[in-house]
Structures are given as C-alpha cells and as structure tokens.
Symmetry: C3
Subunit: 178 residues, 3 copies
C-alpha cells in the first residue's frame, strides 16, 4: 500500500488564469495513488469546451475523469478511497451550476463542507477568489460574489491546507499542524 504525503483536505484558491489548477494538478501528481479529476464544468459553450480541452492536454496520462456539475457531495463520497487523490476543478463553477439549477445554495454548501472530514481519501479543491474587484453593477453578480465568498470561507475553515496562487506562485494561508 502506498503512503500519501498530502493532507486530507486542501483548498487551492486563486484568480482567473492564476495557475491555480496547474498548481493543484502538481500537488496531486506528487502522490503515488490513482489521480481522479472531478470536473464540475459541462462543455455547454465554446469557451468552456476549449478551456476543458486545454486542461485535459496539460494533465498527463494516469488521470481518470469524472464529470459532475451538481451533486459534488455524492460523487466525493462515492469516489474517494485510500488509494486515490481527487482534484475538484472547480468549486466556483459548481456554485454557479447550483445557482442556475435553483438549488438551495446554503444547504448544498453545508452538505459539501460537512462531508469533507469523513471522506475515505484525500481531496484537493480548486476555487476562484472573485471578491477583490469593484462592486458589480447587477444584483445577480453581487449575490454570486457573496455566495462564492461564503463558500470559500466555509471550505477554508474545513480544510487542513489552504494555498493562494498568484501568477503561478503559491502562498500558504493555512498549514496542517505538524
């Protein structure tokens, strides 16, 4: 049996094109276990399909891909194991899927956060920081920004390790106690 050197729950936070996904992939590929890419994106529009392809090309062999736009919690509970590391890319897109599907955002965030400590194997979650620009004009964007901030806070509180990525460079915001 392989031994993992990654904490149970890692959150990788960063802006658009910050290198956060590439950093998270490197963390996972540093582990000997099976690598699972849990994509919350659906290839609905052209921009997104192109982005998914670029991600896929960057990741080497050895990855298994699972797609789940909505029920992240159920898939995490089903797929985690002592012999794998799951990368969730990304929480922000999952949040917008939840909002678009008119699910109960607060409830879904609570479900996700509560499942994290009991997972059977390590998970690395990627999320966008979206609250550092000017206040958006429209109420929907403000609501999304608020929900995204609360999601990031809740997951960060449950995570063992939180890393902020800017220009491809990691900055530790929270470290597992030694």
């Amino acid at each position: 049996m392989t031994s993992l050197s990654i904490p149970p729950v890692t959150l990788v936070l960063g802006g658009a094109r910050s290198g956060k996904s590439a950093h998270a992939e490197k963390l996972v590929e540093g582990q000997p276990a099976g690598w699972i890419y849990l994509a919350t994106a659906t290839a609905g529009d052209g921009e997104m399909a192109e982005r998914i392809n670029r991600h896929r090309e960057r990741r080497g062999d050895g990855w298994r891909t699972v797609e789940e736009p909505l029920d992240l919690t159920a898939v995490l509970q089903a797929e985690t194991s002592a012999n794998s590391v799951i990368l969730v890319d990304c929480l922000t897109l999952w949040l917008s899927n939840i909002l678009f599907a008119e699910l109960d955002v607060e409830h879904e965030i609570k479900r996700l956060v509560e499942c994290l400590p009991g997972l059977a194997g390590p998970v690395v979650l990627v999320s966008n920081e979206v609250g550092l620009g000017i206040v958006p004009d429209n109420a929907l964007a403000r609501r999304f920004r608020d929900d995204a901030g609360r999601l990031n806070q809740a997951v960060a509180a449950a995570a063992d390790s939180v890393i902020f990525v800017a220009a491809g460079l990691p900055l530790s915001l929270k470290q597992p106690s030694a």
Copy 2:
C-alpha cells in the same frame, strides 16, 4: 486598569465576503476593554439593512454601536479611550459616503490619517481591496477604485499592523516592531 495587547492602529483589508469583519471582531473581542462598533453604513436600502443585521447578530453582547457615515475623524477623536477598542466597519463605505456627499476626498482622507497616531485608544479599521479585478467600464467606478486604493495605502502607512484576509484566513502584511 486593564492592559491591552493590541497595537494602536490595525488595518484589516480583504475582499467582499472574505471574513474581514469577522476577523476584526475577533481581534477586538480578544481585548478586555469595552468594545465599540463604529458603523459607517446607513440602513438606506434593503441589501445594506440585511447586511447590518447579519453583522449585528454575529457580534455577541458587550458591544456598543455608534453610527457615523461621514465625520469618522470627529467620532474617533470623541470615542477613543484607554478603556475601549473601536472597530470601524468599514472605510470603503465611508469613502463612498464622502464621495456621494461631494466632500473633498483628499482632505477627508488626510484628516483621518493624521488623527490616527494621536487617538486615546486602539482602533481596528476594516477596508475593502477593490483594485484586483478588470478595469471598470465607467469613469465613476474607476475614480472610486483609485480613491479606495489611495485610502488603503495611506491608512496602511499609518497603521502599526496590517492584515489581509482571504477566505477567512489572515495574512500579515505589516507587523508592529517588537
């Protein structure tokens, strides 16, 4: 007489829903002295009233609230004392009040920053970082972003401690010399 372990001037900087206010409240509640919440918000519209209520619920007993949308400097000078800690929440809203009231922004920032070293008791100021998104379309938002950046720089220069909060986690940008 109680002894305070907080530096004279602390700036807590962060994005929307970053947990900056909660972090600032924890700093203040770590002190034995009387806690004063200096709100720069006015409950003018529904969104803001809801937000103020949520803040109020989170804060426990033992807080006294003072509201002042414009003359922050005068209220700080009147309310600070060796037996209290004041939390100003937040500077960004104060700036937008100043702009809306068509006061002289540069002069008001100067007044605020110049009063900080002479206050009779410690103050914790909360402010938004708003300059890390794409350039806003309209000139007013660009002006606000510029003024907010200058305000944050000026207060940070006058502060003994500056903390950046992301996803609820603090990152020290400036520490009081030991």
Copy 3:
C-alpha cells in the same frame, strides 16, 4: 564599477492604486546605477496623461525616460547594461497595446519572456493583477483577463524575485535562492 544588489529580473505585481509602481521605483532607486523608466503608456487620453504626470512628479531626478508602447523586447535588449537598472511600467498596458495593435499576443509574450534571462543588466517589471474580481460581462474583457493572467504567470516563472503589493506593502511570492 558599481555593484548591484538587485536580482536580474524582478516582477512587482499588484492591483490598481496598490502602490506597486512606487514600490518598484524604490527598488530601483536603492541601486547605484543609472535609472531608466521604460513607459509603455502613451499620453493618448486625459486620464492617462494625468497619471503619467503624477508618476513623473513622484520620481526624483536621476531618471531617464524611454517610451515604447509595443516593442518592449527590442528596447530592453538595446537599453539594458551593467551600469543601469530598467523599470518597465507596466506590462498590463503593454499587453493592451499589443492587443489593440492586433499583434500576436502569444508570440509577443514568448519573445519578452525569452529575452529576460539574457539581458545585460537588471530589470524590474510592474504588472497588474486583474483576475480577482467577478467574471466580466463581455468577451473582450474576459480575453484580456485571460491573457493578462498568462502573461503574469510566464514572467513570474522567468523572474528571480516576485513581489505582490497591496496597500503599499510588499509580500514576497518568490525569492532569489541565496
């Protein structure tokens, strides 16, 4: 001959009005060599002309100014020397010039990044972080944000030192190995 205590390539990253240019100027002015200000701005509109003037006033004597909106690589190769330090202010504006001139963005970024290790003297590059706000409404702004993120990642990877500036305060993201 004077001895320089600045690494070959420094990237100073920050938001709007974060104090990033002032910080970069201080880094350069800490060096004994001749100081060159490489401006990528052109005084095309009023806002920008005003901004350029404010920068010029802040910088003391002892600076030589070179303006180049597009061919940054050629100017860096021509102007760097063991007896000077060049400040490029800023990369984000250069990127928007490149986009506006309909040059090949990917190629121009590659040219810039590849020239950096071979320059004859030290360079300090200033760039904006623009990816930490809400997703912009229009496709052009999204494209710019993506390109800016990729530019910052590529330059950060080639830099010896990367500094993030918020509220005028520097935070090291990458340090030259001692």
